[in-house]
């Protein structure tokens, strides 16, 4: 089976799985794990969108 996601879908999947692992391993209580996981996910996605716009503007 070959999986060919779009670039953005690949970013979302990467951010999701990495954030879950970061949340569980970097915090101690379940509540803080969830909050940190969400924080990492948002940071991943926002960073990607911001960097994408910067690269787009540079390439113009």
């Amino acid at each position: 089976m070959i999986f060919r996601p779009t670039h953005f879908a690949a970013v979302l999947l990467f951010a999701l799985f990495a954030s879950i692992v970061f949340g569980i391993t970097q915090r101690e209580t379940p509540r803080r794990m969830v909050r940190y996981g969400i924080y990492c996910f948002v940071l991943f996605v926002v960073s990607v969108i911001a960097l994408s716009w910067i690269m787009y503007l540079i390439a113009r």
Binding site: I2, R4, P5, A10, F17, A18, V21, I24, T25
Partner: protein, 140 residues
């Protein structure tokens, strides 16, 4: 706490608490070989399941994207890729034995797949170290 326990949480009278008995590196090794296995060993079922599912999914998606599984090389990037892939533990050896993945990343998604496999290995190392920290009492 200094009067009853030392800084590692061990009682001052020399006896070891339950969390310190046995081979302390077992969760680290099991966690490396099987994603989430170290947490399962410590009866952290939910954490182990989430870590295992995340790492396995990332590795499987990398393979499904036709990512490259590093087998060695002389260039520094190939060696670093191999080190990252080795973090997957048994998954890496199974994939090498079964011939999963591509020899070369030919399309963009295959390049993403290669990164997914490497990062899955690195995340697995983080998870295994976390299991070791739970085992030694450094983390609750």
């Amino acid at each position: 706490m200094a009067t009853e326990e030392n800084k590692n949480g061990a009682p001052a009278n020399g006896s070891q608490p339950a969390s310190q008995q046995g081979f302390v590196y077992l969760p680290l090794i099991v966690g490396w070989l099987v994603p989430g296995g170290g947490h399962f060993l410590l009866r952290k079922w939910v954490r182990g399941a989430l870590l295992g599912a995340s790492i396995l999914s990332m590795f499987a998606l990398g393979i499904a994207m036709q990512g490259k599984v590093y087998a060695g090389g002389h260039e520094i990037l190939d060696i670093l890729g191999l080190v990252g892939d080795l973090g997957n533990g048994l998954l890496y050896f199974v994939s090498r034995f079964a011939g999963w993945g591509a020899d070369q990343a030919m399309v963009t998604t295959a390049d993403y797949g290669t990164r997914f496999i490497v990062v899955a290995g690195l995340l697995n190392v983080i998870a295994a170290v976390d299991a070791h920290n739970l085992r030694t009492g450094r983390k609750s």
